[in-house]
Symmetry: C2
Subunit: 152 residues, 2 copies
Amino acid sequence: MLQAKEVTQILRAHGYKVTPQRLAVYHALARTTAHPQAETLYAELLPLYPTMSLATVYKTLGILCEVGLAQELNVGEDAYRYDANTALHPHICCRVCGRVDDVSGLSLTGLQREAASCTGYEVTEQQVYFYGVCPACREQELRDEAGQRKVH
Amino acid sequence: MLQAKEVTQILRAHGYKVTPQRLAVYHALARTTAHPQAETLYAELLPLYPTMSLATVYKTLGILCEVGLAQELNVGEDAYRYDANTALHPHICCRVCGRVDDVSGLSLTGLQREAASCTGYEVTEQQVYFYGVCPACREQELRDEAGQRKVH
DNA sequence: CAATAACAAATAACGATTATCTATTTATAA
DNA sequence: TTATAAATAGATAATCGTTATTTGTTATTG
């Protein structure tokens, strides 16, 4: 998570003005690893910035992605998610509760090179998404099964 | 690409009726490797089935995904793409022309196991997307650069 | 201090997808 | 084959995430 000073520098370097709203969106995003949607960030910021509009959140997120302070995720929901961690790393999404977590400790740079040689593309980016059931939901499922067995 | 008879069996086995429209959507999708959007399939089918509506295409694609005859892709566009090849394989998307190709010859099963052990999730699916510039667009870019040099 | 440009907020617009409703078609068994 | 019940297709409208537009405000520069 970058400091306000660094964020300011980066925005200015790309010709964008620095406003309290923009810093607030960045810090709300950088403070969490929950990969929120625009709507979630908006709801979180509204108490602090009662005049902020959802359109401003979207526009700011677009700018943050453009200048390399965030990345956009799409796990197949109806809405985008955002991540202030722009390092190359996979994400994993729980099919039960919908949470999205980072996956750290997988080396993916080899994949990119392989993909380039398979396809003839010049490969510049990649996104890796896993889907399954998170630990909390797995436990819940085990509890549910146990409960059902008692009923029978 | 499965034959109509097999598709019929699979749909019936899942309790769905088999209609000319459903077979047509499946075959239009299975015939191509371009990973079309619903709109594209609709435009392709309209001359053959003048009464078909876009809603029917969407509903049919949803059913095909549910019964395992297709999968849904999302490379970050505003619309979903669909693929009748349901085997686990990555996709690669050209940032210039937007085309989406299959990547074959990458082994991904190890990744899934690694992700499970990193996160504690039970991992059931994955999607791998690469982004870059396709061979055709790379050539075009080279030609454009050559042209610019002449002008100077 | 004036002039200019960029901005935030509000609103409307847009477009992909889904829900609803009705007439039609399919599957099934007599 | 044909009658019947259930499921479907198509038309239409609705929904919702996202983007464009407009207008008044703020910040910056000379």
